[in-house]
Symmetry: C2
Subunit: 686 residues, 2 copies
C-alpha cells in the first residue's frame, strides 16, 4: 500500500492516514510518498510512486486535487489497480470538477482499475484485514456501513463504540467518481461476516442497479437501513451542494424502499439504533407489543409512541390479564401493564416478564420506566439494588427463553441493572423514542413484502418527434390502454360525420397544442350539430389547429376519475404513479408511486393502497368500480413508458373507472429534452 | 411541619422524606410522628399528632392509606390546614378508594384546609423555602413543574440537573383528591420567579377552570408546555389505570391547547427540551431558520427535520449568498450553508454566524455537524482546539448581539467548545431532533394566537325529555340555525296539504325514532302525491310513527354538505365540531374541534382551517359558497348546546352550504344519561 501526499502533520489527512496505516501495518507493507522526500513518521518518504521498491496494489491519494491526474497516470502506468481518493475539490465544486472525475473514471475502467472517492474518508474491511480510513480506527463487528459522507461514518462509529458493537466493512464513498453505492452493496450479498447494512446516501447513481443490489442483500437475510436527506426542498439542496449529486424525489426513494425492502429512517440516531436492533434481536412474529412499567406514566407515553409508529398495544386477553393480576396484585392486568407499585418492588418486572413474553398474543415486550432506580439513586440500599440486578438477569433469561424481542427504556440507563441487561443482549435506551424505533425496525423488516425491482423491457421503436394528442391516443391504445372512442377530423364535414357515427353528445379537442385545457382547446358535452359547429368555428378562429379530435362523451357520473402516469426519474428510470383525479386530485393529494413497469396485480395493489380507495370499492351505497380494468390500464401505460427511453412522461388524466371497464379520456406523451442524452445513455448501460 | 408515618428506613417514603426534611430544616421546625414512638433519625418520634409540642401547619401523610381518615380527622381537629399525602392506595385502586377521597376532600373544604395528593411525591416551593419532596432534592431555578406523576417529576429533575437548570416550584399532584392542576396553575399567573411552566397531566379535572388558568399563565408571558399521554387508545388506558382519572379525547385536548396557547409535546424528552428552550432563548420573529454546517450531510438532515416540524429553511437572498461565498470560499452560499470545509477550518462557524444571524431574512440559526471535532477527537492538536474554543465564544457573541436564537447540535456535545457555548447561554444538543424541538417550541410560542376560553352562558330552560326530530328542528331554528322548511303532519291529508304548500319534490321523515336513516324512516325526493302517499303508507305499516315531517327538498347539487355539532366532553364541557359531511366525511376525515360556544368568526376560522376548505371557497370553477352562513349556523348551534347542560350532543348532519345561505337538513339532540348528574354538578360548579 502506498500513501501519496503522506505528511508529518497528523492534523492533515495525509499525515493522519499515514501514521494510522503504519500503526496497523501487518501483512501489507506501507510506503509513504511525498514530493519532497525526506522522512515521515520515522519512515523513508519516496518522492514519487515510481521510486517505490515495489508496485503498490492499493494507492491512497491524499495529495491535493491539482496533482490527481498526474498521480493517477503514474500509478496506472505502474500497474496499480486500486485507489482510495481522500482529497476533495473535484465533483462537489461544480461542472469542471465533475468532468475531471468522469475522465478519470474512464481511464480507470480502461485500465481495469477501481477507485473509491474522491472526497471520501477511506474504507476498512475487517474480513480481509484492510484498514485505510483517515482520522479513525474502526472497531470490528457485524455491521456493514456504506456512507457517502465521511462525517456520517465517523458519527456512526462514535455511536457504535459507545454501544459496544463494530463493523465487518466500513466504506465511505464521497463523490462516487468510479465505485458507487450499487457496486459496494453487491459485495454484501454473500458477505457472511455482515449481518446488517447501514447506508447513508445523499445522491445516488445507477438507480436500478442499486435497487437490485439492495433487494438481493435484503433477500439474503441482511436488512438494509437507509438514511437519505432530501425529504424537504432544503434537504435536497443541501445534499446537492455536499457531494454534487442529483437527488430523486423522496416519493421515488420511498417507492424504491418498498420494492426492495430497504428500511428508511430520518436521522443519524435512527440509522444507528435501527441497525443495532437488527443486528442481534430475535425477530417478532407480528406488531403486538406488551408494555410493562412499574408505574409513573411512562406506560401511556410509550403506548402513544408505539401506536404512532404503526405498532399495536392491544389489550390483553382475559386469561393473561387474570394471571398478571394474580402475579402482581394491585395491577389492572391490562396493556400497558402498570404494576402500580412505583419502585417499591424492584423484582416486579421480572415477575411480569415470563407471563407477557410467554403469551401467544404478545410479539415483543417493551419495559419502560425507572428500571435501576435504586442502583442509580440510592446505592446505599444494597438489598434493593441486588434485587434489581437479579431481576434484570431474570428478565433477560425470560426473553431469551420466549425467543421474543425485549427492549428497555429507563431513566437510569447507566445503572447496574441496565448494564447487566445489555451484557445479556437486551438493548437498554435512555429515551422512549429509541426503544420504539428499535421495535419498529424489527417489525418493519419482518412485515416488509418487497415487491421486487421490475425488469425494464427492450426499447421499442422510438418516437422521432413529440406525438400530438391523436398520436398519443393511438400509441396508448396500441399498448393496451382502453381509450374513449374518437375520430381525427379536418373541417366541419368530417367533424359532423364523426359525431353522427359516435352519437351526441361529443367532445371536440384541437390538436397541435401541448396543454389543450389551458389553451381552451377542449369543448365538452356538445349536444348537437350546432354546438359542434360553433365549437369548431371558435377553435379555428382562435387556434387554427391542423386537425381536431371528435370523441364520444363518457358517462362521467357513473365512475370516478383517476390519474395514471409514468415519468422518468433521473436516477431510477421509469416510475409509475396512480392517484385520484378530477376534484379529488386537489383535495386528497392521494397518490402512490412505484418503480415501472407495473404488473396489473402490482398496479391493483397500488390503487387499493390509496387512502380514498373505498371510493372505488363501492363506498356510499354505489356499486364497486372496475379496479382491475384501471390496474390493467395503468400497467399497460407503464410498460409502454418503460419501453420508450426517449419518453420523459406519459399521463392519462383522467382515466375514468366505470362499474365495468376503465377508459382513458385524455392522453399526453412528453419526450425528453435533447440534453438529457447523457443520462439516457447512462441508464441504458445499467 | 409534621411527618406522619416517619420511619427510620430511608427506603420507605416516610423514612426518606423525614430524613430529607430534617436535613433542610431551617425556619420551620420538623416533627416526626410514628405510632410506635421512640427515636427516628436522632429525633423524638411522637406517637400521634396531638402529642406534638405545637400544632403543625403542614402535615405530610406518609402512613398507610388505612390510617388516612383517622389521621386527617385528628389533624383537622387540631387546626392543621395543609396536607401533603404521599401514601398510595385510594383513588387509583377503584371506586371505593375514589369515594374515600371524595369524602376526605369534602371534609377538607369544610375545614378550610388543602391537601396535595394522595399518591404524590410532594412539593417544593423555592420562593417560600418549602421543601417536602420524597426521594429527591429539587435544585432552585425558574421552571415551574406541575406533574401528576412523581416519577415523571423525578425524571425531569434528573434532566434538569444534567443540564444545569432548576425549579421555582415543583409540585406533584397524584390523584388530585383535593388540590388539582387548575388551582396550581392559577398560582403561577403572578409568580415572578417562574419563567416557564412544564405540566405532566394524565387525567384532568375542572377542565374549563384549568383551561382558563393556563390561558392566564400564558398571557402573563409564562409559556406552558404540556405532556399528556392518551393520543392512542392504549395510552388512554394506561393513564386511567395509573391515577384513575378520566381522559379527554386527544382532539379535545388539542383544541384546549389552541384556545389557551399551551404547547403540547409527546415525550418526557420533548417536555424537558421545550421547557429549557423557552427558559432563556431570545424569541424569534418568525420561522425562517438558517442551517449552517461544516459539511458532511448533517445540514440536509437538519433541514428535513426542521421542515417536517413546520419550520422553514428558505434559500438565502442573492446579497446574503454573495457575502457568504466571499467569507467562505468554496461554499455555495445557500441554505443550508455547507462551508464545504469538513473540519479543516474550525473557525468557519464563527465566520458564518454574524452574516446569517445579522440578516433580516433569518429568524434563528441552527449550527449542526461536528462542532468540537478537534477537542473531542484529537486534543493533541492544541492550536486547532484553541481555534474551536475561540470560535465557539465568537458564535455566542454574534448570536447575542443579533438577538436571535442560536441552537447547536453536534456529534461532540461534551467537548470544550460545546461547554463554552452552553456557558454562554447557547443550547448544545447531541441529537438533531432535540435542537429542532427547541426551535419548534420557540416558534410555536411566538406564532400561537390563542383564541381564548369561551364563557359558558347561563343555562336555558331544560328539556324535560329527549326532543324528537321535530322538536330538535324547532329548537335549533329558535336558536338561530336556518332549517329547511317543513311541516309536522299526521295522516295523508295533512301530508298532501303540506307537500302542496312546500312544492314537490319533498322529503318525508317519520318521528319517534332515534336513528331515522338506519331505521329506513327517511324518504327523499318524492316527486308527486303518489310517491308521497306510498312512502307514508310504508312508514305507517313498518314503523307506526306518531307523526311525520314533510320537508322541501333542498338543492343538494348546488352546495356542499357539512357536519356541525357540539358534544359535552366529560372534562371540558361543550366542544364544537365542524367538518365535511356526505361522501367527504368518510373520505377526508377532515374535522376541527374547538371549545364551545363559538363566535361566528371563530366558527368561520375553523371552517377555513379544514384541509378541504378550498371546496368551500370556489375551487374547481364553481362559485364560492356562503361560509359565513355556515359559520353563523355552527355558532348558533354551539351557543344553544352550551346553554343546555342537560344536552349530551347536538348535531346537524348535513348542513348544506349554498352559494347563498346554509340550511340544516337534519337535526339531532341527545340528552345526557341520568347517571351523568354528578359530572354535570361538577361542571356547573366551575
Amino acid at each position: 500500500m502506498a500513501v501519496v501526499g503522506a505528511s508529518a502533520d497528523t492534523s492533515k489527512w495525509g499525515g493522519d492516514v499515514a501514521a494510522r496505516l503504519l500503526r496497523t501495518e501487518t501483512v501489507r507493507p506501507v510506503y509513504l510518498v511525498n514530493r519532497k522526500g525526506g522522512e515521515i513518521h520515522g519512515r523513508t518518504a519516496y518522492p514519487s510512486l515510481s521510486k517505490l521498491p515495489e508496485i503498490p496494489e492499493l494507492v491512497i491519494l491524499a495529495m491535493p486535487a491539482a496533482a490527481f491526474e498526474t498521480t493517477l497516470d503514474e500509478a496506472l502506468a505502474l500497474g496499480s489497480k486500486a485507489f482510495v481518493a481522500l482529497f476533495a475539490g473535484l465533483g462537489e465544486t461544480g461542472r469542471d470538477g465533475a468532468e475531471r472525475e468522469r475522465l478519470a473514471a474512464a481511464r480507470l475502467r480502461e485500465a481495469g482499475a477501481l477507485m473509491i472517492g474522491p472526497n471520501c474518508m477511506g474504507l476498512t474491511d475487517h474480513s480481509t484485514g484492510l484498514q485505510a480510513v483517515a482520522y479513525l480506527d474502526v472497531p470490528p463487528g457485524a455491521i456493514g456501513l456504506v456512507s457517502q459522507s465521511g462525517a456520517m461514518g465517523e458519527e456512526f462509529v462514535a455511536r457504535a463504540r459507545a454501544w459496544g458493537c463494530g463493523f465487518s466493512r466500513y466504506v465511505t464513498l464521497g463523490n462516487q467518481a468510479d465505485v458507487g453505492i450499487a457496486e459496494v452493496l453487491e459485495a454484501f450479498v454473500d458477505h457472511e461476516p455482515t449481518r446488517v447494512v447501514a447506508l447513508y446516501a445523499e445522491g445516488l447513481r445507477e438507480g436500478r442497479r442499486l435497487a437490485e443490489a439492495a433487494a438481493r442483500v435484503v433477500a439474503a437475510g441482511r436488512p438494509v437501513v437507509l438514511l437519505a436527506p432530501g425529504r424537504s426542498a432544503a434537504g435536497a439542496r443541501a445534499a446537492r451542494s455536499h457531494t454534487g449529486s442529483l437527488a430523486s424525489s423522496t416519493a421515488v426513494l420511498d417507492a424504491v424502499c418498498r420494492a426492495t425492502g430497504i428500511l428508511r429512517v430520518d436521522s443519524p440516531r435512527e440509522l444507528f439504533e435501527a441497525t443495532v436492533a437488527l443486528l442481534d434481536a430475535p425477530r417478532p412474529r407480528g406488531s403486538r407489543v406488551a408494555v410493562i412499567t412499574e408505574g409513573g406514566g411512562h406506560g401511556g407515553i410509550a403506548a402513544d409512541a408505539l401506536e404512532a409508529a404503526g405498532l399495536r398495544v392491544p389489550a390483553f386477553g382475559a386469561a393473561l390479564a387474570g394471571r398478571l393480576r394474580e402475579a402482581l396484585p394491585g395491577s389492572a392486568g391490562t396493556n400497558p401493564l402498570d404494576f402500580a407499585l412505583g419502585t417499591t418492588e424492584p423484582d416486579a418486572y421480572a415477575r411480569a416478564l415470563p407471563l407477557v413474553a410467554g403469551a401467544d398474543e404478545v410479539d415483543a415486550v417493551f419495559a419502560v420506566g425507572q428500571l435501576g432506580y435504586w442502583a442509580a439513586r440510592f446505592p446505599e440500599h444494597g438489598e434493593l439494588v441486588a434485587a434489581e440486578v437479579k431481576g434484570a438477569e431474570a428478565m433477560a433469561a425470560s426473553a431469551r427463553s420466549a425467543g421474543k424481542p425485549l427492549v428497555v427504556s429507563t431513566v437510569y440507563p447507566d445503572a447496574a441493572p441496565a448494564v447487566r441487561l445489555r451484557a445479556a443482549g437486551v438493548p437498554v435506551y435512555r429515551e422512549i423514542a429509541s426503544a420504539v424505533g428499535a421495535l419498529a425496525a424489527l417489525v418493519c423488516v419482518v412485515e416488509a413484502r418487497p415487491s421486487g425491482v421490475p425488469h425494464i423491457p427492450r426499447p421499442a421503436a422510438s418516437f422521432e418527434r413529440a406525438p400530438d394528442y391523436w398520436q398519443a391516443r393511438e400509441a396508448l391504445a396500441m399498448a393496451g390502454v382502453a381509450v374513449v372512442e374518437g375520430r381525427r377530423v379536418t373541417g366541419a364535414g368530417e367533424a359532423l360525420a364523426a359525431a353522427q357515427e359516435l352519437g351526441y353528445p361529443v367532445a371536440l379537442k384541437a390538436l397541435g397544442l401541448l396543454h389543450k385545457s389551458d389553451a381552451g382547446a377542449v369543448a365538452l358535452g356538445l349536444g348537437d350539430a350546432d354546438a359542434l359547429l360553433a365549437a369548431l368555428a371558435d377553435f379555428e378562429a382562435r387556434l387554427a389547429p391542423p386537425a381536431c379530435v371528435v370523441e364520444r362523451m363518457a358517462a362521467r357520473d357513473e365512475g370516478i376519475e383517476l390519474i395514471v402516469g409514468c415519468r422518468r426519474d433521473p436516477l431510477f428510470g421509469p416510475v409509475a404513479l396512480v392517484g385520484f383525479g378530477g376534484i379529488y386530485a386537489e383535495l386528497l393529494q392521494d397518490t402512490r408511486t412505484a418503480l415501472a413497469p407495473l404488473e396489473a396485480s402490482g398496479a391493483q395493489t397500488l390503487l387499493e393502497e390509496l387512502r380514498a380507495a373505498p371510493l372505488l370499492s363501492g363506498a356510499r351505497g354505489r356499486g364497486a368500480l372496475d379496479v382491475a380494468a384501471a390496474a390493467t390500464a395503468a400497467a399497460a401505460l407503464s410498460r409502454f413508458a418503460a419501453a420508450h427511453p426517449e419518453v420523459e412522461e406519459v399521463e392519462v388524466n383522467p382515466l375514468l373507472v366505470l362499474p365495468s371497464g376503465a377508459l382513458a379520456l385524455d392522453a399526453r406523451i412528453v419526450l425528453r429534452a435533447a440534453d438529457d442524452d447523457a443520462l439516457r445513455a447512462d441508464e441504458e448501460d445499467a
